[in-house]
């Protein structure tokens, strides 16, 4: 597996790509925060927030529909909010019978459910855009600048760096299991659930030991290359006037959205 197998970064040079990563992280979090602050059924503000995402998409040169195409990842979780449809008191919109139960969807419940899903869908698009236009090590570096404890950012950097190595290891373990598990077509595979769980447990234990021993070699190799307990970068972040301007502009847009969301 190649070392960038998990990268979500799309190479490019655009206004958004070249923005200081700190600005991008702050604006993304502020955007998600702003969504959480919007009241239910603030349609105009939701529309403005979507326009904000579309503009960011366009400026990043990835195409208008880029984040939209990947934005359905959080949708299954909407199941958790489905009870809001029936449980919030309000005027009945429609009722139906299902599994011998009467369900009544109320107008207040419908508004709440739709608002929750829209907020989630807008927020996830912004997060998708952030990793698409910022290299992951730069995001971690920005987190470090934003006062996230160094030990955490170093662990995250190592996790990112070695994930593909250990995924390869998992692939080898899974392939070995496949190779040893013959099965006839249409027949259930052998072994009880207990037995299968034990096999996977042994694989996890094996993976743990291999990772543990590998971390020793990793550490020695890094020492040999001048590792001093923190990760270095050849891209020192320099905050420029343009970064500040765009960041402030984005924040002003968010404030306007809040105002639009509270108009009577």
């Amino acid at each position: 597996m190649h070392s960038d197998a998990f990268d979500r970064y799309h190479h490019g040079h655009s206004l958004i790509h070249d923005l200081d990563p700190r600005v991008k992280v702050v604006v993304t979090v502020a955007f998600i925060l702003s969504n959480a602050l919007l009241p239910d059924a603030a349609w105009l503000a939701f529309l403005l927030a979507w326009a904000f995402i579309l503009i960011a998409n366009a400026l990043s040169g990835l195409g208008l529909g880029f984040t939209f195409r990947r934005s359905f990842i959080a949708l299954p979780f909407a199941l958790a909010a489905i009870t809001a449809l029936f449980s919030i008191p309000g005027a009945p919109v429609m009722s139906f019978r299902f599994l011998m139960q009467d369900f009544t969807i109320t107008d207040a419940g419908l508004l709440r459910f739709v608002s929750i899903v829209i907020r989630s869908w807008l927020s996830v698009q912004m997060a998708i855009l952030l990793v698409a236009v910022t290299e992951f090590p730069k995001i971690v570096h920005a987190l470090n600048h934003l006062r996230v404890p160094t030990i955490l950012t170093v662990i995250i950097s190592f996790l990112y760096r070695y994930l593909f190595v250990l995924t390869d290891e998992v692939m080898r373990l899974l392939r070995a299991r496949e190779a040893r598990s013959a099965g006839a077509a249409g027949k259930r595979g052998g072994g009880s659930v207990m037995w299968r769980a034990r096999v996977v447990g042994n694989m996890a234990g094996q993976l743990f030991l291999r990772s543990y021993e590998r971390s020793d070699r990793v550490y020695n190799a890094m020492l040999a290359r001048g590792y001093k307990g923190e990760l270095m970068t050849i891209h020192p972040h320099r905050f420029q006037a343009g970064d500040l301007l765009i960041g402030l502009l984005a924040l002003v847009c968010l404030v306007l959205m809040q105002v639009a969301g509270r108009l009577p």
Partner: protein, 311 residues
């Protein structure tokens, strides 16, 4: 690439701002403690180890086995990490895993990341380590049995915490979400317990030095046992309460005025039951089953503890 997300990763938008911020505050305090403890007790060499261990947990979550009907069991890893690495290190490792899942794969939101870390990283590590630490000097079989129960309980605790946060945010009906989450995770937890026990048994057999008295996993104090037991008791007491008598919890939250603050932007959401689960027999049966399972788990732990004292 096989990567199966777990139903516990809450995306942005599903928790209210107040609940998200309270969870972030609790998480930040615990993480600050974890950072200062680990900085003190760990050498420079341990940091790359923790990084690779975080990658291990991430990768181990891809290991799966078919259970039945197309579903598959797999590992979450909080309890296993805590038992092998010690509680503070495990908290940092799980935090890194959850942060990367949210940042890189959008599996879980950013504003709600505090809640996700709390549910899947901190509570699971505290229960997993606390209960295991309580029997650290017992026989191998006792340790494995308790590790299994702890793994199961840690998943249930994460599911319960998630349900409560969703309820307080006004996203879900209390009774429905608790019953749905706990019944699904009672099964996922069994997979977790089996894999955790098997993985621990494997490590005990091949590298017992990683788990003995001088290892990182023995570094936590006795206070962890209390934390683990208290959290487990909270799961045991709250789960049946929330699934069988949701009005009680609703009432408490309302009396404290908390529910109105937490659900800012929406009307109060007091004890309205959902028709499907209002069917008393069904919800009572589910609640009863969950209660029974939880009590069974506690009985096993208590039994093991007593056995240790008498032997």
């Amino acid at each position: 690439m096989h990567y199966s997300p777990v139903a516990l990763h809450i995306p942005d938008g599903f928790l209210s701002l107040v609940v998200s911020l309270i969870c972030w505050a609790i998480t930040a305090v615990l993480l600050a403690m974890a950072v200062s403890r680990t900085n003190k007790s760990l050498g420079e060499k341990q940091v790359p180890l923790m990084g690779v261990m975080a990658a291990f947990i991430f990768a181990a979550q891809m290991l799966n086995f078919p259970v039945a009907g197309g579903t598959s069991g797999h590992l979450l890893g909080g309890a296993l990490a805590a038992i092998v690495l010690g509680p503070w290190a495990a908290m940092l490792v799980m935090t890194a895993v959850i942060a990367v899942q949210a940042l890189l794969f959008q599996d879980g939101g950013l504003l709600v990341m505090g809640a996700n870390i709390l549910n899947m990283g901190l509570i699971t590590a505290a229960i997993g380590y606390g209960l295991y630490r309580g029997v650290a000097n017992s026989s191998r079989n006792t340790k494995l049995a308790v590790a299994g129960v702890a793994a199961w309980l840690s998943v249930m605790a994460g599911a319960l915490a998630t349900s409560l946060q969703l309820w307080l945010s006004g996203t879900s009906n209390l009774q429905t979400v608790v019953i749905a989450m706990l019944s699904v995770h009672a099964l996922i937890g069994v997979g977790e317990a089996l894999i955790t026990v098997a993985a621990l048994a494997f490590i005990m057999q091949t590298r017992p030095d990683l788990l003995d008295e001088t290892s990182a996993s023995a570094r936590g104090g006795r206070g962890w046992v209390a934390a683990g037991v208290v959290l487990s008791l909270a799961v045991v007491l709250l789960s049946p309460l929330a699934s069988a008598f949701p009005d009680g919890l609703n009432r408490v939250a309302e009396d404290l005025g908390f529910i109105h603050i937490a659900q800012s932007g929406s009307g109060p959401l007091a004890g309205y039951s959902v028709p499907f689960f209002a069917d008393a027999s069904l919800s009572k049966i589910a609640a009863g089953m969950i209660g029974a399972l939880v009590v069974l788990a506690v009985a096993i732990i208590a039994g093991r503890g007593l056995q240790k004292k008498t032997s």
